[in-house]
């Protein structure tokens, strides 16, 4: 019992409070998204989404309790097994799962259905933490870089086979954790440069301007730095590669399936076919934009309620918030998310062993990725990718997987004194 007292006192209640706040706000918004004035049902009515979400919330509390009373060493020990189980489940989903909207993403019996890809995230996170706890792992060495990449890529490949590219993309979030753990910065510089070139190449009609820009930047770098032959040649090669990349991009995009192409192009031209491809983004922006400073008031929104925004209770739940609570409401939620992320970074930093810290950063990575992409997508800053807003979006799998993900870390954090490990 003394031990129990010990860790309960160390639980980070701030994180739990933010979690609870987000879940509650999310639940109210799910009700608003399905609310029908003409056939008003109680928020607790199990026939509508808000009632079902309440069941998910209730079961999430059970999960939290189970995590908190479990042995803290369990997660570390089970990490590989969980990783294996969920990979297996992802593998078999296409064969035993149930088809929804042309995709087979969930398995289960009757009404109890889960999406293995959702749960594979925390299993992968645990596995990464477990792997990196080994003292020899040094991410500046290519050997370990490859091994880490392998752990990440196995679920990505399996999920792509489903295919569910949106969920697969989330695994790139682990690079945030890898950045903290010492992955060389040049990779990130390279990735950011490529993203910038991609955006410019797709956004600028005439690629010649881009080529001119690249040449100018390379020449500047050459003249500002040391002028030895090797450096000049390598910089020139990088420049040539960048130019080739920008030209190849149009070709690559044209090879993508049409609906992926459209999602990307809508980003640069929102008025492109507002009733077709642009519909989601246009309607989403209309819903959020019509909220104004203080919003239309709870349950007074028209755009989400009357189905103008598709997927309003899941991926586009932020629209309901933006419409009914305006900029102030959006600010509160964005503030809560940022506070949560910063708090989690602080918690991760105070861990005494690498397992907990890596796992903590995995949680930060995944939440940050989801939060950023989801909201950016609803306001037209990012192509439409079907990923949920953590703790907010309707759905058992998503709520459970984020809850498990977060509370394993809270549990680990509360035992940070016992988990004295080797740090590097």
């Amino acid at each position: 019992m003394r031990q129990d007292d010990l860790y309960i006192n160390k639980i980070d209640w701030l994180t739990i409070f933010i979690y609870a706040a987000l879940v509650c706000i999310g639940w109210f918004n799910i009700y608003a998204a399905v609310y029908d004035e003409q056939a008003a049902k109680s928020i607790f009515d199990f026939s509508i989404n808000s009632g079902k979400q309440l069941v998910w919330i209730g079961t999430a509390v059970v999960l939290i309790t189970l995590i908190m009373v479990a042995d803290y060493r369990l997660f570390e020990n089970l990490s590989l097994i969980l990783y294996g189980i969920f990979l297996f489940l992802i593998l078999i989903t296409p064969y035993v799962g149930k088809e929804v909207n042309g995709q087979i993403l969930s398995i289960g019996f009757g009404n109890f259905r889960i999406q293995p890809a959702e749960f594979a995230k925390f299993a992968t996170a645990l596995t990464l933490a477990k792997y990196m706890e080994r003292p020899s792992v040094d991410l500046s060495q290519p050997k370990y870089q490859m091994q880490v990449l392998l752990i990440i890529m196995i679920p990505v490949i399996l999920i792509c086979l489903q295919p569910d590219y949106g969920s697969a993309m989330i695994y790139s979030a682990f690079f945030i954790m890898l950045y903290r753990e010492g992955m060389p910065q040049k990779y990130y510089a390279l990735a950011l440069t490529m993203i910038a070139i991609s955006l410019l190449a797709l956004g600028i009609e005439n690629n010649l301007y881009l080529v001119g820009g690249i040449v100018l930047v390379i020449v500047l770098i050459i003249f500002l730095g040391k002028k030895n032959i090797g450096r000049i040649i390598s910089l020139c090669l990088i420049g040539l590669f960048a130019i080739a990349y920008s030209y190849s991009l149009d070709y690559v995009v044209s090879k993508l399936p049409q609906h992926h192409q459209n999602r990307i192009m809508v980003l640069f031209n929102p008025d492109l076919d507002p009733l077709g491809v642009g519909w989601n983004v246009t309607q989403s922006k209309i819903a959020i934009g019509s909220g104004g400073f203080l919003g239309k008031g709870y349950l007074e929104g028209t755009q989400t309620k009357f189905d103008f925004v598709p997927e309003q209770h899941t991926d586009f739940i932020f629209c309901t918030l933006g419409e009914e609570f305006g900029w102030v409401g959006s600010m509160v939620v964005i503030f809560l998310f940022c506070a949560l992320l910063i708090r989690l970074i602080m918690l991760a930093e105070r861990q005494k062993n690498r397992f907990s810290r890596v796992y903590g950063y995995c949680v930060v990575s995944i939440l940050m990725f989801h939060f950023t992409i989801n909201i950016a997508m609803t306001i037209g800053l990012f192509p439409v990718i079907g990923i949920p807003l953590p703790f907010f979006s309707y759905g058992g799998s998503s709520l459970w997987s984020f809850t498990i993900l977060l509370f394993i870390f809270i549990k680990l954090d509360s035992h940070r004194i016992q988990l004295l490990g080797r740090m590097n």
């Binding site: 950045y179 309607q283 959020i288 934009g289 309620k305 900029w327 959006s330 930060v364």
Partner: protein, 599 residues
Amino acid sequence: MNEKRPIVLIIVVALIGVILLTKLFLIQVADDSFLKRAERNAVQRLVDHPYRGLIYDRTGKILVYNNPLFDLMIIPKEFSVKDTTRFCEIFNITKEHLIESYTAARKYSSVKPSPLIKQISTTEFAKIQDFLIDYPGLFVTTRSVRSYPQPVAANALGYIGEISGRQLERDTAKYYRQGDFVGLAGLEGFYEKELRGVKGVKYKMVNVRGVDKGSFKNGDYDTTSVAGINLTSTIDLELQRYGEMLMAGKVGSVVAIEPKTGEILAMISAPTYDPNLLTGSKFGTNYLALNRDDKLPLYNRPIMATYPPGSIFKIVQSLIGLQMGILTPNTTYACNRSLVACHNHPSPVNLFGAIRNSCNPYYHQAYRAMINREVSSNTFKDTKIGLDEWREKVLAFGLGGSLGLDMYNEKSGSIPSSSYYDRVYGEGRWKYSTIYSLSIGQGEMMVTPIQMANLAAIFANKGYYYPPHLIKAIDGDPNKIKSEFRTRKDVGVDAHHFDLIQDAMAEAIYGTAARAAIPDIKIAGKTGTAQNPHGEDHSVFVAFAPKDDPKIAIAVYVENAGWGGRAAASTASLMIEKYIRGEITRPALEEYVLAGKFM
């Protein structure tokens, strides 16, 4: 080496928050176009069109009403039918029609209503009404079209049609919208404001598929429509119908007025058309056809056609002469045919005889006495002063100026002034010999049939009139009509001067219009002939009856029918008998008029 990286990550998180909030601020607060687009998305403005006011005749019979037409609408998603054969039987449609309409409706929208059967009449609707409940996804919407139980008075009643772009521009109150129907002619046009009622507006919320999701803001912005105001016309439906029957096959006008009130009892424009032609969906094609017809059925002759008044004007001359003191009942002139042509009658004649015989030289001489009173020694100036003074007296009879009746496009006719002759002949270069035609109602003067009917009312009233009008009560209240219609206008001739005139008109019937005489009803009248340079003269007749207590004053114009004693006098006589007795005792005369074709 990685100590700074957590700080970098915290900065990144904060940066993401700032970027998202900035973008949100831009679309939520800085840009209100999204709010407008949201309202366009979800709020639908539905106009509730009020029932247009009805028009009754003076006896309470319906002239114009709204005929409800029912459209059977279908919502494909909710619609289900087990036995299509029975369904088709009940709704009296073919299976092909059902399949075709259903497919078209589905194609349009499975949740929004589309028409299945259009324009179901009231009787047909009664048959299907009870079956509607058996078929989900069906409902009925009503529309109404103007309808006329008796196809008469088309030009007086006018018609409604879609508002034109120009009218929309002129509508500064912004009441009308594209596609609204407005009164375009006749009473429909003049009383548009009364008849139209007040439109109601309902704001409805719709979801993305256009499905009704209830009222917007609890209906706080909704207004209910107010039905149009009913009008009571002065027209006697029976008399109007009878007059149109008599005028069938002829070109001309009949205007009958109740002298004591100025109420127009009948206003017939021939040829006319069935007002039901200009309603509903057939409006466009029918209007084009009527507009192209060279007999001009859309031309409202009683108020738009102008003719010289002819001999009838001699009565006005007599009255002005009497009032001026230039004429007395005993004033005698010789029928001097060297001045102006005349027909055979005893000569010389006194005033009574001049009216009875319609003596042209009498009025040539009498008019000279009125015009040239030697006010000025210069005969040109003298004529000018005389003409302008005389003209004022003529205008008081409601001639040469608009009577201001409740109908647009009324022509004023014209009584020439000195400035007119100055323009034509030059100042100081015309005198009595230039204008003498005016003495017998010829020459440069023009009047409309309605003005002539009003003239008959003045004779009947012995010197006054109420401006003729077609509506006697608005919303059942006679005090709501324009005050001008209730204001008596005196022509400036003393009542006792009319006694001789009335007697002469009563006597004249037996001289020039024996056909017009009616057994037991004393009628006073005067024939006229409006000269027609293009062919046979126009037959004109004005009259009132009964002479001692006038109930009706009438003017009849029949174009190309020769002198007034024939077609026009017979028609007027029948109209008077129809109105006063309610039946016709002279079927032979009726047949004679009906047989006349003067087109």
